[in-house]
Subunit: 192 residues, 2 copies
Amino acid sequence: MPQQKSTKLSGTANAVLGLLSFGTELSGYDLKKWADHSLSLFFWSPASSQIYAELRRLEAPGYVTSRQVPQDDLRNKRVYRITDAGRQQLITWLETEDIGSPMLKHPVLMRVWLGHLVGSDRLREVIEEHRDRTTARLEDLHRDLDIVAARENWAYPELIIRWSERYYEAERDNAEQLLLELDAMERSPTPR
Amino acid sequence: MPQQKSTKLSGTANAVLGLLSFGTELSGYDLKKWADHSLSLFFWSPASSQIYAELRRLEAPGYVTSRQVPQDDLRNKRVYRITDAGRQQLITWLETEDIGSPMLKHPVLMRVWLGHLVGSDRLREVIEEHRDRTTARLEDLHRDLDIVAARENWAYPELIIRWSERYYEAERDNAEQLLLELDAMERSPTPR
DNA sequence: TTGATATAGTCCAAATAGGACCAGCGTCAA
DNA sequence: TTGACGCTGGTCCTATTTGGACTATATCAA
């Protein structure tokens, strides 16, 4: 019976527990794919090395269990499953950890901010590309929505996808507006 | 004459150069405050230890210069100024570095995503608080806009603030919509 | 037959966060 | 007037996290 010492878990550790909390058994590799696909919409996606490290750290206090699955005669993979203690730990974290502010890391806005160094043609190019990539992303999301909506017990992830759709729409519109304001700036008597 | 070896600079290093590129001489402490205030709108704000480390790293290849400023008889501070080489380095970085995707780290959405563990009252509470904090932030931003608009040479930062206003408005509306969808979910025949 | 892509990881260096600590000064209240 | 607290201006240390290089095998396509 493994002791669950109340070691503070990092955000990444709890994110991994979160992925496992939907019930399926997953390998580190699976977790990375899932994270890229779902978690990355609203949180970062941890590096795979980080995921493997967290899994080992989660196993010691008994928050997850693992077993070997033979793949073929030479290889096997290790799949992980959340335990009741792990689920409880996650719930406690969700309820007690205070909720920080959202963080945004936006390379396009970084360019705009330093517009005085960039040149407005290049700037416009960057923004237009961002707008187009956002629009493309929006279509992917719409496909994801169908997939997620079909599953049971996925009502909350579905909310996330709907939220993301609205988020990307706003992003696209904001890019458009930014282009308009750039036009206006260039026509106005801003001295250099 | 310091050699500027073309050592790759980290994102943080370039962000610091960016802050200095507006022309004023700044101490590490000033830079941290500025970063918290402006950079944090669309990029993260580096830890102060990180800022001091980057400043030392930027001085070696001659991207910034520094001088001591006596404060009182016992203490003095060190202020930094960007050099032409630094400005050129920053421009090169802006033009050649490829532009990654925006990254979002959103603790509120994390809670929503794990809604099956959280309980819908708590969830609603979290979202409402987020909406209110966003609204408050919006007012601060509006004040900042007046300050920034008054300065010359700050047209691009002004664009950023306008962009952020639209961003926070969308965030507020999205939170509101999320609350509506939660209501709908609870009235619908979702088992458990 | 060669090469690309997917699976399933490990390892390491460098970047980054974040808190503890230090010191002096100013201010406000008890 | 003494103490508490906060702001300025940092340093130092540890833990976290990233990201790339590396190892293998299997599978599919040109």
